[in-house]
């Protein structure tokens, strides 16, 4: 088999030039948009795969987002597409669990979700940042309704078992008081001449003004209880109407205790590009995206197909697969080209005829990162009714890591489902060592340190330990040390008639956007190769 060399990394401009030469202005514009060149007016038009030779076939392995996007675009462009998918559903990690859903993990643990009608839980991706243009574009084109998702909630809790006697603190208190403390110290330093070499006179004056405004300092540049400070951190007794009692000031946290608590570490999401506003989720569950794509390509998809071997020669690819449930004699699917989106944790175990470079890249990625997510249904929405937390996330140093509150049904009576834990690494292994119902009970036991209402209001739960899901064996590739940069291009280059796609073949690991962009990039290069060599139907 051949391992066709591709161009070495080239400059963005050269890359665009090459695409322009190959494919004309439309593709050029599309590429520019995708690369963020055309201002930020990017990604309005679908990828242009015009000129597909009649009858050219592409076999897509995996019906997660990468596979679905490829199947959708290739079939629209006129390619003959066939998709093999291990599961009995499309979407892969883009998955939503609802009442009645059943699934089995490695080792045989079987769960049946007991959620009430209308409630759900996204065990995989759950957030779409505003700059994930690819995912947003498919939502737009396929008319998937989106709603806002609050990443940050000022009124949510930040919690450390080692600080403030284990008492959760309000996010807004930690944020305002940390900032006030920083501003007070910096103002002090400026006033004492400590920064005279770093700042000229003009800047020193402006910095003092900035610290007073931004840090809410008093006239002596101190961060102390005041109406202005309460306008930021919230009131002791809030202002009311009529002759309701007068407002009373709140008391800022002790600066030393706050500094030593480390709770300020939770403020980073305030300033995180990936977690910033605006953030979206599909109304009704993340799988609405996968479902919308699947509806467009369902006639091409074979469910329950476990790939056991991938072969190729100069004329095409042939893939052996067995019934995922029953096994039996392998069947063989053939095509001119293959886009393989199987996670590397699985692919590294499948015999595959590719060059050493791609095979080494595949092997370097395994095993995947462990991750466990737990969804909990409660009788009532006490986090809204009692704690006034609508959406967003509470952070804790307990093994559950976070509690995230639903965006659906806010301010209405009724039940709700929380993300009751999102554990990585060692915490994930600890959770996964328990049976699914023990995991749920442990999440309830731990979460009750933040929400005492847990014990009384809990109804049922479900957990997904990703490293025990047979079709991914983990959450995403860790690529230890510099292995990612060493292998990345070898992983992404087309090997003969086989290209790889998926979040693993992107620089946005663990995000759906990585899957979408890698898929578009791979099929774009595949299409360019097919059309530039004038290839017609194989055989």
């Amino acid at each position: 088999m051949s391992n066709t060399p591709e161009a070495a990394p080239i400059s963005r401009r050269a890359f665009l030039g090459r695409i322009g030469a190959l494919s004309g202005a439309a593709v050029m514009y599309q590429a520019m948009s995708t690369l963020g060149f055309a201002a930020e007016s990017s990604y309005r038009a679908p990828i242009d795969l015009s000129g597909a030779p009649r009858g050219t076939s592409v076999l897509v392995l995996g019906a997660g987002l990468a596979g679905l996007v490829a199947a959708y675009e290739l079939s629209r462009a006129g390619y003959t597409v066939k998709v093999l998918e291990y599961n009995q559903r499309a979407g892969g990690r883009c998955w939503t669990i609802r009442g009645g859903d059943e699934f089995t993990e490695l080792g045989g643990f079987r769960q049946k979700c007991e959620f009430d009608e209308g409630l759900y839980f996204n065990p995989g991706p759950w957030r779409i940042p505003y700059h994930h243009y690819g995912v947003l574009d498919y939502a737009r084109r396929l008319k998937v309704p989106l709603q806002s998702l609050n990443q940050i909630n000022d009124n949510a809790w930040v919690h450390s078992t080692k600080a403030f006697g284990g008492k959760p603190q309000r996010y807004r208190h930690v944020r305002s008081d940390f900032k006030g403390h920083v501003a007070e110290l910096l103002a002090k330093s400026v006033n004492q001449g400590g920064l005279d070499t770093a700042l000229d006179v003009e800047d020193r004056e402006k910095m003092l003004e900035a610290m007073r405004t931004w840090g809410i300092l008093d006239k002596d540049y101190r961060y102390v209880a005041s109406r202005a400070v309460d306008g930021s951190r919230g009131y002791g007794v809030p202002p009311g109407g009529g002759l309701m009692p007068k407002p009373e000031l709140s008391t800022p946290l002790d600066p030393k205790a706050l500094l030593q608590s480390g709770l300020w570490k939770n403020l980073v999401t305030d300033h995180d590009y990936e977690m910033g506003q605006a953030m979206f989720q599909p109304v009704g569950g993340m799988d609405r995206i996968a479902d919308a794509l699947y509806r467009e390509v369902r006639q091409h998809v074979q469910f329950g197909a476990k790939v056991v071997g991938i072969d190729q020669d100069d004329r095409g690819v042939s893939v052996s697969w067995v019934d995922a449930a029953k096994g039996g004699t392998p069947k063989v699917a053939t095509a001119d080209w293959c886009l393989c989106t199987i996670p590397l944790s699985i692919l590294s175990q499948i015999p595959m005829r590719v060059g050493d470079a791609m095979q080494s890249a595949i092997n370097a990625a395994a095993p995947y990162v462990a991750s466990t997510k737990i969804g909990l249904q409660f009788k009532r929405r006490f986090w809204e009714e009692d704690d006034r937390i609508y959406g967003g996330i509470s952070y804790t140093d307990l093994p559950i890591g976070v509690i995230s509150y639903p965006m659906e049904g806010q301010n209405l009576p009724g039940k709700g489902v929380l993300l009751g834990g999102y554990a990585f690494g060692p915490n994930s292994y600890t959770f996964a060592s328990l049976d699914p119902q023990q995991r749920v009970r442990e999440a309830v036991r731990l979460g009750a340190q933040i929400h005492p209402q847990y014990e009384k209001e809990f109804e049922n739960g479900v957990s997904v330990a990703w490293h025990r899901m047979p079709y991914t064996l983990g959450c995403f590739a860790p690529w230890p040390g510099d292995t990612r940069e060493k292998h990345y291009e070898n992983l992404c280059r087309i090997d003969g008639r086989i290209a790889l796609a998926g979040e693993h073949a992107s620089r946005l690991p663990a995000w759906q956007e990585g899957a979408v962009l890698s898929s578009l990039d791979a099929i774009g290069r595949m299409h360019a190769r097919i059309t530039s060599t004038g290839e017609k139907k194989n055989g």
Copy 2:
């Protein structure tokens, strides 16, 4: 007439004790909740006005939120309620303008809104913070669907005509770079020993760790271009999929230019209790709240009634009113009690039989603050498609002040309506000196400095100059100097048989929550007085 003295300001606990003695545990719990005593599990139960004497009548003046809430609760409790409203609609400042709506301002300017079907604009209140329990409770009880409103959008613009050559900057750039600059300076000061007296050794170490984490400093405590910094402020070339060009670093803003620009002033909304997350709006327009209340009391409401005199004696109140459009001979409405929610800007012009204390308070509040809001319809949602701004606010030092982006229809094709300007004070007078269509054109001309697409995509617009609306003559009371504290209790105390309510009779001026809480507080006191004196039907 009598000016019944009420208790002087009392402590919150004493206040609760008094309510407890008067009204039993249910009201006690309700009061505790309202005052934020019962943890934050406040405001689940409706106000309890049980024991209303049969046939006791209350005349409510004004059908804004305060009047509607009072009419709703009083009629549910068994009182005989009549509401007089100047406009031909309920809601007052809780108002939504849609295509086809017409209105006239003082001076005769008449506007007809030309928005397309389904588009709207809230010229008055547009945001419901998560801690406005009263408004949220009515939304919940009356089943008004809410949706999230983004106050902060990381990708929105902050703009100063006097900085960066007038070029708008991304909110996330200003926020990250300002923070990084502050962290670098504070770390420098700590490292140079400048804060050795303010921080002990342990705190100095922790503060350095905090500055490195929170400020995203390098190992030498510098804020410089890096992958980590781009993870906060956003990328030069973003990470892509497959063999898309490699990410490139962005370039932080010049620290001196940023400091001198004053753009950091726009970061205060990041830390503002009133503007914090979670924030809501009713789906379809703010007036959904007023409509829901109005539906419950419509049989009691007289529209088009302009109050021209308010009288009272020991036995009841009598209010003279004329047809708001035609004038003519005054009619008289009588009742045992009166809740007057007419804005003080209007009420100060109406002859009214109350004591000097209340009359002085009423007079002290006028005139109201000027405010002008402008709604603009565009052919396409270029702020999303080109600029990737979904909801939230851009800030500018231009007279328009802000541009706010709609939450409806995000990520879908089609038209949209922006809040194209929200001017206060002198800027508001400048806008209001123009005719409505000139105001709209001026907002388009100014806004084009931030969104050049304005000129091409603009379709139509509408403006509301609140100080020219005959039923409010402004936005809210400024209460210059210490006049508010001087007069506040005199304004709120029941005078004979008359109580005042509305945002002006609250410590939450200009917010709907102030109107709701003041109304509940006033009718609660009125009810307590009625039931404690054993009063039966008057006359």
